[in-house]
C-alpha cells in the first residue's frame, strides 16, 4: 500500500518527473514518424511533448491510412 504521509512534495515531484520523462521518451514516436515523412523531427518532438495525445492520434491515423492505401493497391 502506498504511504505518502506528509511527503506530498516528494510524491508530486517524483511522479511529475516520471511523467515528464515518459512523455519525453514516448514523444519520440510521432517525431520519428514525422521525420520519416520529411517533416522536422525537432518541431514534431516539441509538439508531441506538449500535445502528446493529439500528435499520437495524428500519427496513428496517418499510419493506418497509409497501410490501408497500401493494402488497397
Amino acid at each position: 500500500m502506498m504511504v505518502i504521509g506528509t511527503n506530498t512534495f516528494t510524491a508530486a515531484g517524483l511522479f511529475a518527473v516520471l511523467a515528464a520523462m515518459l512523455l519525453g521518451l514516448f514523444s519520440t514516436y510521432p517525431a520519428v514518424k514525422a521525420g520519416e515523412r520529411g517533416k522536422s523531427f525537432l518541431k514534431w518532438y516539441i509538439f508531441s511533448f506538449f500535445f502528446f495525445p493529439v500528435a499520437l492520434a495524428a500519427t496513428v491515423r496517418r499510419e493506418t491510412g497509409e497501410s490501408g492505401n497500401a493494402s488497397e493497391k
Binding site: M1, G5, N7, L18, V32
Partner: protein, 893 residues
Amino acid sequence: MKKQPVSAAARRGMSTGAQRLLRSSMMDTGALLGEYGNTCAGYDEETVLARRGQYGRNETSVEKPEPFYKKLSEAFINPFTVVLFILAAILFLTDVAFAAPGKKDPSTVIIIAVMVLISGTLRFVQEARSDSAAAKLRNMVHTSATVSRAATGKTDIPISDIVPGDIVYLAAGDMVPADVRVLSCKDLFIGQSSITGESAPVEKTAAPLAKAESAPLECSNLAFMGSNVVSGSAVCIAVATGGGTSFGAVAKSLAGKRAATSFDKGVDAVSRVLIRFMLCMVPVVFLINGFTDGDWLEAFMFAVSVAVGLTPEMLPMIVTTNLAKGAAAMAKKKTIVKRLDAMQNFGAMDVLCTDKTGTITKDKVVLERYLDVEGNEDERVLRHAFLNSYFQTGLKNLMDVAVINHAKSEPYLSMKEQYTKVDEIPFDFGRRRMSVVVRDSGGKTQLITKGAVEEMLAISSYAEYKGRIVRLTDEVRSEVYETAKRLSGEGLRVLAVAQRTNPPVEGVFSVRDESDMVLIGYLAFLDPPKETAASAIKALRSYGVDVKVLTGDGGAVTKNVCGKVGLSVGRVLLGSEIDRMDDAALTSAVEETSVFAKLTPPQKARIVRVLRQNGHVTGFMGDGINDAPAMRTADVAVSVDTAVDIAKESADIILLEKDLMVLEQGVVEGRRVFGNIIKYIKMTASSNFGNMFSVLAASVFLPFLPMRPIQLLLLNMIYDASCIAIPWDNMDYDYLKTPRKWDASSISSFMAWLGPTSSVFDIVTYIVMFFFICPAAAGGAYGAAGTDRSLFISLFNTGWFVESLWSQTLVIHMIRTPKVPFIESHASPPLLFSTSAAIAAGTMVPFTAFGRIIGMSPLPAEYFPWLAVILLCYMMLATFVKKMYRKKYVELL
C-alpha cells in the same frame, strides 16, 4: 698500412649525398679509390674507427624504442585517470589529512586508487606484450655484408659497420648495404623495386659515365642501399652510408611525431565529450544538494562520488584490452600488430592504398604468354623456349627460370630425354641473346635462340607467318614490331624466339651461326599478382573498403596488373600529372581514380594526405623504401615480412604470410574491436547520464541522499568489473559489414535517448522504495512519528543500489545489439558470466556484514517482485527507444 684521409676538396664535394653520388658516377676506379684513401685491400681498423667517428654507423633506424618509464606513465596518465587522481587527492585531504581524529576514513580514496591501479596495470601489461611481439619480429632480421679489410681480407661484417670508402662485394641474393659505385661487375642486375617501384631488375655496369645524369637513380653504375642483387656479382666502393644514403634521406623524412590517426582523434573527441559532461553536471549536483539539504560537506562528498561515477576510468583499460585482444587474434593469423591502435584504424579504414610490386604482385618474373608471330598462343614457341632455357649451362637468368617453371608438365618433361644438347652460344650483354643447339632422336639438329626483339630481328631472315615460312619483309617486320610494342604496352617484358633447322656447322658453333634464322614467336613475362590479391580486393570491397594502387612503376604494367586483380582501372593518373595539380584538383582526382603510376615517394604521401583530408580513414600497404613516407602519413600502415626494414619500421601491421585475405580478416577484427569499445563508451555514457537525471531528481525531491558516497563508488566498481569481459563479446555480423569511425556526436545523441530510459526506472524505484517498501519495513512514512528513520534511509539506499546495479548491467545486454537481446543476439559466455557474477555479488552485498558496514540493510522479500516488474518494464521501454533511435539515426552503435 695507413691510408690517406679523404681530401678537403673531396669533403667539400660531399655537401649533399646526391651530389656525391653523381660525382662518383663519373670517376674512374683509381680516382675513386684515391678520393676515399682506400685500396682494394681495404681500410685498417684505425681508419675504420676514424671514419665511423666522422660519418657515424651505417644505420637508418627511424624509431627508437620508448623508455620503460614513458610506457608506464602513458599507461597510467590519461584524461580520466587525471580526473580521478585529482578527486582522490581532494578526498585524501578532506577524509584523511584534515579529518577530525577518529573520523579519518580512507576507504573512498582506496577504492579510487584501486580503480586507477587496475586500469593502468592492465593497460601497461597489454601494451608491453604487444611491444615484445614486435621486438621479437625485428630481432629475427640479421643482415651482414662482405667487405675488404686490411687485417682480415675479404670478410663478412654487420651492415652497420660499413663506412664510406669500404670496398664492398656483392653477389646474387645480397642486399646492397650502402649507396655504392660499381667498380667492376659481371652480369649485375639489381632489383630496385623497393626504391623505385619498378618490378623489372635494372642492369648495372662499371664504366664511368661520360656526362652527369640528372639524378643518382638514373646512373647505371650506382646501386642503392635497400636494393638487392638479382643476378651477377660486383665489386663496389661505398659512397654514402647511414643517413647519407638515399634510403637514409627517406628515413629522415619519417623522423618526428607521426600525425594523429583517426583513432587518436576519435579518442580525444570522445574523452572531451565525457569530461565536459562530467564537469558540467557535478557542480549542478553539488549546488542542488547543498541548497536543498543545507549540509554542504555532505553535498560536496556526494558530488565528488558522482564525479567518480561519471568518469569512465575503465575506458583506457577497456580500449587497450580490446585492441590487444584484436592484436592477439591477428597474431594467430600470422600478422603482427606493432601499434595497438592500428587495430581500430584497420576497422575504420574505408580506403586502402597499396603499392603494386611485392604487395599485390609476387615481385618475381613469370612467363605470361607464348605467342606466334601473329600474336596467337602457340605451344611450339614454349617448347623451343624450354629447350633453350633448359639446355643452356650459363647463369640462368629470371626469364630462363620463368620458362622452366612454366613448362613443368608434359610434354616438356619428356623433351629432356628426347633431345640432347650439341652446343651453346652463351648470353652476353652486347648481343642480348643466347642460343643452344639440340638434336632430337631422329637426328634433326636445331639452333634455338631467344633474346631482345631488336636483336632477334637483326639475325632473322625468315618468319613463320600464317602457317608458312616467309621472308622477313618490311611488312612482316613492322607487324612484329607492332605486336611487340602492343605487348610492351600491356606492361609485359617481351623476348623473341627464333630457330634454324640443321644449321650447316656442327660441333663448334659461334656467334656467326646466329644468322638467317626463322622467327617463330614471342615470350611475354610479367610480375604476376599474388594468388589471393583479386579475392582479397573483392572481399575488402564487400566490406566497404575501396582499394587504390599507388606505384612507382609504369602506367602500362600497372594497368595490366590492376585489371587482373579486378580493379576498375579507368584512368591511370601519373606522377607528372599529379605534380601539375593543386590540392583542390587533386582532392577530386583522388576520389575518381583507382590507379596511380610513376609516383615518387612524396607524391604517394601527398595522395594519402589528400584522401585523409577528404575524410577517409586511409590505409597504406607497401614494402619498399619509396612507400615509407606514405605509410607514415596513413592512418594505418601495413607491410609484409619480405619488406625492407624501413617499411617494416613504418608499418603498424606486418603480414607474415603471403595470403592477402588476412587483410579482410584484419578489417573485420578491427571492426569487432571498435564495436566493443564503442559499446562500452555508449552504455557507460548513457547509463551515467541516466544516473545524473536520477540523482538530480533525488536531490530536489528526496529529503536525503539516494545513495551514500561509498555505496555509489562500490556500485561503480562492480559495474566496471562486469565490463572487463566486454572485449571478449560478440558483434553482430551486420555491424561488421561497413567501416566504423569515431563519432563523438553519436555518443551525445545516444546518451540523450538511452540515458533517460534507465532514469525512468530509477525514479520508479524511488517511488516504490519511498512510498511502499520502506514505510512497510520502517513502520510508517518518512518523517512520521514512530518511523525508524535510519532504517528507512538505509533500506532506500540499498533498494536503489540493487536496482541500479541490475539495470546498469542489463543495459549492457540491451545496448550491445540492435536486435532483441538474449533471443536474436546473445552476449559471449565471458560477458554473460561477468555480468551475472556482478549482479549476484551486488544483490548479496546488503545481506552481508560488509553491507552493514557501508550502511546497507537486508532487503525484504516483497522488494524482489517489484524489482522483477521494474526490470521487465525497463527492457520493454529500452527496446522501444532503441527502435525509435535506429529509425532516426540508423545505427545503434
